[in-house]
Symmetry: C2
Subunit: 389 residues, 2 copies
């Protein structure tokens, strides 16, 4: 196990009706806020009305900024930064899923600097301050509600880049599983995939003696595997949503990463796919992971065997560990297909004609490697994308 530091300052308020506590909770931090959200669903479900009623009752003023799209855009972040500066707003409240939260984190960092916040996403400097961010989560998937991460897409050049900073852990996140009842099936499936991806990125590590976090990761994967089909079958199943939602948050809040080093190549590769084709992040991950696994399998067959046996209940063939591992990958693919997800680029409707371009961008013109479990250059990324075709 590696040395580590660990602290998660985010307060979680979990359960039925908890969004009505938002005003009182915000008032502990701010008097004037940016209320940031996505499309029409928060309006049509009445959630936005409940939120503003709660803010009003607590004496909190707000400026609204809607319109966040999946793969949140830098241009809207700039608009949010402008609003925060103009109105001297003190907190950014995200009402939505990972895209809204990531956009809010970008705004929170940008509001306190003169330069373009995009510089941080390009790795030019790191933030030293940010407005507090708070969230009301409506889509369990990205884990951004209790994480240090934000991913933003710059329209020009289709560039999708991430920032990680402890400054953007939300001060609080409200998780009410009832808010998931209206999610479309495809979005549920993509969320399940995103959560599984966060767990697998952490699971495949070269750090030895990480048995405890291995088991916590397996426990969380098993929860998603058990609960995702239940919420797909009945999106009003509160009990299944509660398990799914809390597991999705824990999957990405860094506890399960303590003492180990995650891989993250699959995320980097998928960012190139969704950056160009604007497919849902989860849908892209369902395509990348099986290919990434088949490409890296022989790097550490034992780790894949442990995963196949413990997570997917594959019977161990001690005489052929690799076959055991491959059965795990097959069961994972069957699970994704059962959720209605494609497991090939073709199934995703993405032509295989820009593979070289994606591999090139992913590795910055073959100058950088991606991944930690196996470090991948441009030719490796291209090979994985061809396996995924």
């Amino acid at each position: 196990m590696d040395n580590f530091e660990h602290r998660i300052p985010t307060k979680i308020i979990f359960g039925k009706g908890t969004e009505n506590a938002v005003g009182a909770e915000v008032a502990k931090h701010a008097k004037r806020i940016l209320l940031h959200f996505g499309g029409g669903s928060v309006r049509t479900t009445g959630l936005l009305d409940r939120v503003t009623a709660s803010l009003k009752a607590a004496g909190v003023d707000w400026v609204e900024l809607g319109g966040v799209k999946p793969n949140p855009r830098l241009s809207l972040v700039h608009e949010g930064v402008r609003l925060c500066k103009e109105h001297r707003l003190e907190l950014v409240l995200a009402v939505g899923g990972g895209s809204v939260i990531d956009s809010s984190k970008a705004i929170a960092m940008g509001a306190l600097i003169d330069n373009d916040v995009w510089d941080f996403y390009l790795g030019k400097g790191a933030p030293i301050a940010a407005l507090p961010v708070a969230t009301i989560l409506t889509i369990p998937a990205a884990g951004s509600e209790m994480s240090t991460g934000t991913v933003i897409t710059k329209e020009e050049g289709d560039l999708k880049r991430a920032v990680n900073s402890e400054l953007i852990y939300p001060v609080f996140s409200i998780l009410n599983p009832e808010l998931c009842f209206t999610l479309p099936r495809f979005q549920i499936a993509c969320g399940a995939m995103d959560i599984m991806a966060h767990l697998m990125e952490r699971y495949f590590t070269n750090v030895k003696h990480v048995g405890f976090t291995d088991r916590l990761l397996e426990a969380t994967m098993k929860t998603i595997i058990a609960e995702a089909p239940k919420v797909m079958a009945n999106p009003k199943n509160y009990d299944a949503w509660a398990e799914f939602m809390w597991a999705g948050t824990i999957a990405h809040n860094n506890l399960l990463n303590t003492g180990r080093v995650g891989d993250w190549a699959s995320h980097a590769i998928e960012h190139e796919i969704s950056g160009i084709y604007d497919v849902a992040h989860g849908a892209g991950l369902a395509v990348v992971f099986p290919a990434w696994m088949r490409y890296t399998l022989r790097h550490d067959v034992e780790r894949f065997v442990q995963w196949a046996v413990r997570v997917w209940n594959v019977e161990l063939d001690v005489f052929d560990p690799e076959a055991t591992a491959r059965k795990g990958i097959e069961r994972m693919e069957a699970f994704y297909k059962g959720l209605g997800l494609a497991v090939t680029l073709d199934g995703l409707g993405v032509a295989a004609d820009r593979i070289e371009e994606m591999a090139d961008k992913c590795t910055d013109g073959d100058t950088q490697q991606v991944g930690n479990f196996v470090m991948l250059g441009k030719s490796d990324v291209a090979a994985i994308l061809r396996l995924a075709a």
Copy 2:
């Protein structure tokens, strides 16, 4: 799953050599501190010298208070409170195990009030402020390094009582598995038992749809079951200690309790045993748990079956679930015995002649019930103690 709020402000600094960071970390919070510890081992191992060197280098002044014993005493707490007030100390640094940390938490609460801090332990009022507490953990067991709890014994009347407050989450805790290398075998075993107890108190709940936290609890139990024998066999096994130590902290920091209600009757019953006989808390728990389980088994056989199958790898006998559950209890007893712990009062050297007295105190003269999974009155507690005889 129940609604819940969850926030753990404690920063964990984990790994080799991390105690040398203590001065710099304390300096973020305080200039003058109480340095609180137990017996001679922190001196003989050189740990105290390294700590004071680090404090000195960071410009932090300290007042020393050693002498904490297992089942920490109120009289020493009073002495610590006096020192904090007299020297206007700003933080209490615990260097030791759960007893030292619990004593530190009591001092931290007492330092800011005029009344006796014991009032809080009697349930008379709740703290509204406390000095910050920080810890360097030397015994993985109590979980106090990342918990809201403190347990203190008042000498007159052998009263052992607990306080829980979010105000006494340590601001930081330093966990270096190397510091465990010198622990006596018996103390290791008691620590393993204490950790298992924290997990089982949470596991046995009446709240439905807690599959995710069930699995996290099982993962943590399996880690202790796998790693405890390794550190018993070789107390210098860093890798095994790292897993054991981190699992011990997570076992009790309330994450694994989110959305569920723990039982805690076994802890309450054990407090009466160690309050009177001054046996080690872990040793007492090893005696109480098997008896408590046999007494409550039929309340929810399915839950015991899940635990037996998943945690202890008992083969499910679908035609006789109760036999499956009982095999789980037997394997648990075998595990304790393998660690060198007694599983009966007799084996512990405690005569069965004060059972009525203990049952009476535990239930406040049969006016209060203990436990949540099954609520126990005086006669139940006495019956469990007789089963444990």
